[in-house]
């Protein structure tokens, strides 16, 4: 509706040791390496044939192929969305390869190419038996396919299904068919339709009735191949009285070309089920001049289908040249709860338009939104959120807090909060602040002996505390480090 904040900061920052800043910038993106591995790719281009070929490579049943084709046909009729506050160069969908996989197809972890294991090791996600992350099961997705999932046996004993989407379609077809597209319909939006047509892999999670998932589940997405898009699809179903905490991480090599990432994530929480979904997104953001980087167009939605269910999204978004992402909750079940905690950081020429939607349908539903935007360099950072209270949502409540922090001279922060309240008894609260890292704060830290870069990351960390608190411990540490690295060179 209205643009409540639009600020540009003008402060003469002191010039610091250039060599030091230069060095910091150069080691800014540590995940930017390329793995030299033979892969099989579909040639660039998108047509019904591409969709059929993709489906055939994956050995999918016919219903799946038809589902994809329907999505593709629908996609052809849709215009690209242009309502976000993003400046996007035209995307040539015919120049993208829609499938790339390491040559030796997926197999058990013992047989996986050591180069792949090494890749994940370098990213801090060891997959092999001895070094596995304690208490976290990992599904590793490399370009278009899952290359391995850890702790399979332990999870199977608990009745939990955690596998790649490809495997789920083959092995758990009925479950997938029942839930896939039930939260984000095929034609939901342009990028969701594209994803539905060409998604190649992703994770599938099923938590049966009354089960508390015995460990954190996580998927690590890695884009490696050049000129390839990654289109993953994740589906998490939590049956009555179950609980799961799921984490995802993402990285990509540094390249001068933009690469496309269009994912769809669907969550289904039945009666009294709880799903906690955390993301640390660190796709390659492009260089300081805005060359290269990932275009991140993601549709994430959770359906609180059962009464007293709860879905909580926590995201730390530091990567990508462009982020277009609105993890949402449909609060259908009575007394269901939706939460959204977000830190979105943009630096250099990055652009982010991100936020959430909370759709209150059931009675006594509650939602909470805490969004923190940090802008540095010449970046643009927008919060866009919708709180919708339907007529029947008696006693619904929402609390929204949006804070923006500006660092440097030429960045922008914007807030677009939308509200549609059809039930007069609902309580909707909104608070928004925009602040700068003030010279006073910076000088206060300096005068105590804390250097400028450390001072900035300390102030930013404090600003994000409310969100970091929601992350699982290991992720909170990683997120904090990531912010520090992403902000190096932001001042001075």
């Amino acid at each position: 509706m209205n643009e409540s904040e639009n600020m540009t900061r003008e402060v003469a920052a002191p010039v610091r040791d250039n060599a030091e800043v230069e060095a910091a910038l150069n080691r800014r993106y540590e995940a930017g390496f390329v793995t030299d591995i033979e892969s099989t790719s579909l040639p660039p281009g998108l047509s019904e044939d591409t969709v059929r070929q993709l489906s055939a490579i994956k050995g999918e049943p016919e219903w799946m192929t038809e589902w994809r084709l329907a999505a593709y046909r629908h996609w052809l009729t849709m215009p690209e969305p242009d309502w976000a506050k993003l400046d996007i160069a035209p995307i040539d969908y015919q120049s993208v390869s829609y499938y790339s996989a390491p040559k030796d197809g997926p197999k058990s972890l013992d047989e996986v190419d050591p180069k792949l294991l090494e890749t994940y090791e370098k990213l801090g996600v060891p997959l092999h038996e001895r070094a596995k992350l304690a208490g976290v099961a990992v599904d590793a997705v490399f370009d278009s396919v899952s290359v391995g999932t850890t702790f399979r046996k332990e999870l199977a004993e608990a009745g939990v299904i955690f596998c790649s989407m490809s495997e789920a379609i083959r092995e758990h077809g009925d479950l997938v068919r029942q839930y896939l597209g039930s939260v984000v319909p095929v034609g939901d939006n342009y990028f969701a339709a594209l994803n539905s047509a060409v998604f190649s892999d992703g994770s599938f999670v099923f938590i049966p009735k009354g089960t508390r998932c015995p460990m954190e589940l996580s998927t690590y997405f890695r884009i490696n191949a050049i000129n390839t898009g990654q289109f993953e699809r994740t589906l998490i179903v939590a049956e009555d009285d179950s609980y799961v905490s799921y984490l995802e991480g993402c990285t990509a090599p540094m390249r001068d070309e933009n690469q496309l990432h269009a994912a769809v994530v669907e969550l289904v929480a039945l009666e009294r089920a709880q799903i906690k979904y955390s993301t640390v997104q660190n796709w390659y953001p492009g260089d300081e001049n805005g060359v290269g980087g990932i275009y991140n167009f993601v549709t994430k939605r959770g359906d609180c289908r059962g009464a007293d269910s709860k879905i909580s999204w926590t995201q730390v978004e530091t990567g990508s040249a462009i982020t277009w992402k609105y993890p949402s909750c449909v609060l259908r079940g009575d007394r269901s709860v939706g939460e959204f905690y977000s830190v979105a950081l943009t630096h250099h020429r990055q652009q982010a338009d991100t936020g959430t939607k909370m759709i209150h349908i059931g009675k006594g539903t509650k939602s909470k939104i805490v969004a923190k935007g940090i802008s540095a360099g010449r970046s643009s950072n927008s919060y866009r959120g919708l709180v919708k209270i339907e007529k029947g949502a008696d006693g619904a409540r929402n609390y929204t807090q949006c804070d923006s922090l500006l660092i440097g001279k030429q960045c922008g922060a914007h807030t677009f909060p939308y509200m549609e309240v059809k039930n007069p008894g609902a309580i909707v609260e909104h608070e928004a602040t925009t602040s700068k890292i003030s010279d006073d704060q910076l000088f206060y830290c300096l005068s105590r002996g804390i250097g400028e870069e450390d001072a900035v990351s300390m102030i930013v960390d404090g600003f994000c505390k409310q969100v970091f608190r929601e992350l699982p411990m290991e992720f909170a540490v990683e997120a904090k480090k990531l912010l520090e690295v992403s902000l190096e060179g932001a001042v001075g």
Binding site: C445, S447, G449
Partner: protein, 263 residues
């Protein structure tokens, strides 16, 4: 041997000359009070010494224990032992007070080539200092100065000073906005930190702080220079008579330089 030697210091803020040839020598263990009318340059002095951006030194020198202080970055000045207690301590939301202080101490130690303190040893140090400062440890768990009362903020400054153990502490109107009880507490904290090798420069508007922290020297800063120096009796005289009497002695001072009246 001096701790601090300021010689003929000239400094500008936003193009306007505020300090116009200020000289001051402070020896180890001495407490110097600097008083003066509004706009005399009292706060500028603290900011220049601590190295705040936007305070431009145009002439003069500052020697700190044999170093050219003005050549150092602000964080380096802290590390070599200069501490500025702020008139308006700054809030840093979400940053834990203890965490902040440990980061500060370890950054300083690192600069000096000393071993950094792990959290156990740091906590031990903090507990000792808390006792001396009579501060409740509830303060430690809050964010830096966030939601602190005026008195708490000033006490937190003194507490930071206690932990960081500077060689030279500059107190910039630390007494402003404090009621008498808070003032006493702050003064007790400062007195507990007095030692033969630590010096204090206390910038104040009011004589009453000096009832509790007894200075070795009192100086009058007017028109950007130290125009009068004496012992604590000078502070009492200022309290009674204001600054106007200085005009006769210092005909070079403009009337405006002396119109500020100490309360």
């Amino acid at each position: 041997m001096h701790m601090l030697k300021i010689d003929n210091l000239h400094a500008r803020v936003e193009g306007k000359e505020i300090l116009k040839g200020l000289s001051l020598t402070v020896k180890p263990g001495e407490v110097h009070a600097i008083m003066g009318p509004n706009g005399a340059g009292k706060s500028t002095l603290g900011n220049v010494l601590a190295g705040r951006d936007g305070y431009e030194v145009t002439a003069g020198s500052v020697d700190f224990a044999g170093r050219d202080l003005l050549a150092l970055e602000p964080e380096e000045r802290a590390a070599v032992g200069v501490f500025l207690a702020f008139q308006y301590p700054v809030e840093i939301p979400g940053v834990n007070n203890t965490y902040f202080l440990r980061a500060a101490l370890n950054a300083q130690r690192k600069f000096r080539g000393e071993e950094e303190l792990d959290s156990m040893r740091f906590l031990k140090l903090v507990r000792e200092k808390l006792k001396v400062m009579q501060i409740s440890d509830e303060l430690l768990h809050r964010a830096v100065n966030e939601g602190f009362s005026g008195g708490e903020k000033k006490r937190n400054e003194i507490f930071q000073m206690a932990v960081l153990e500077p060689k030279l502490a500059i107190l910039d109107e630390t007494d402003s906005g404090l009621d008498i009880d808070a003032l006493k507490q702050v003064a007790e904290g400062v007195n507990a930190l007095r030692s033969p090798d630590r010096s204090f420069v206390i910038v104040t508007h009011y004589q009453r702080l000096l009832d509790y922290i007894e200075p070795d020297f009192v100086h009058v800063l007017a028109g950007g220079r130290i125009v009068e120096s004496g012992d604590k009796d000078l502070a009492l005289k200022l309290e009674e008579q204001g600054y106007a009497w200085l005009a006769e002695k210092h005909p070079e001072l403009r009337k405006a330089d002396l119109t500020g009246v100490p309360a």
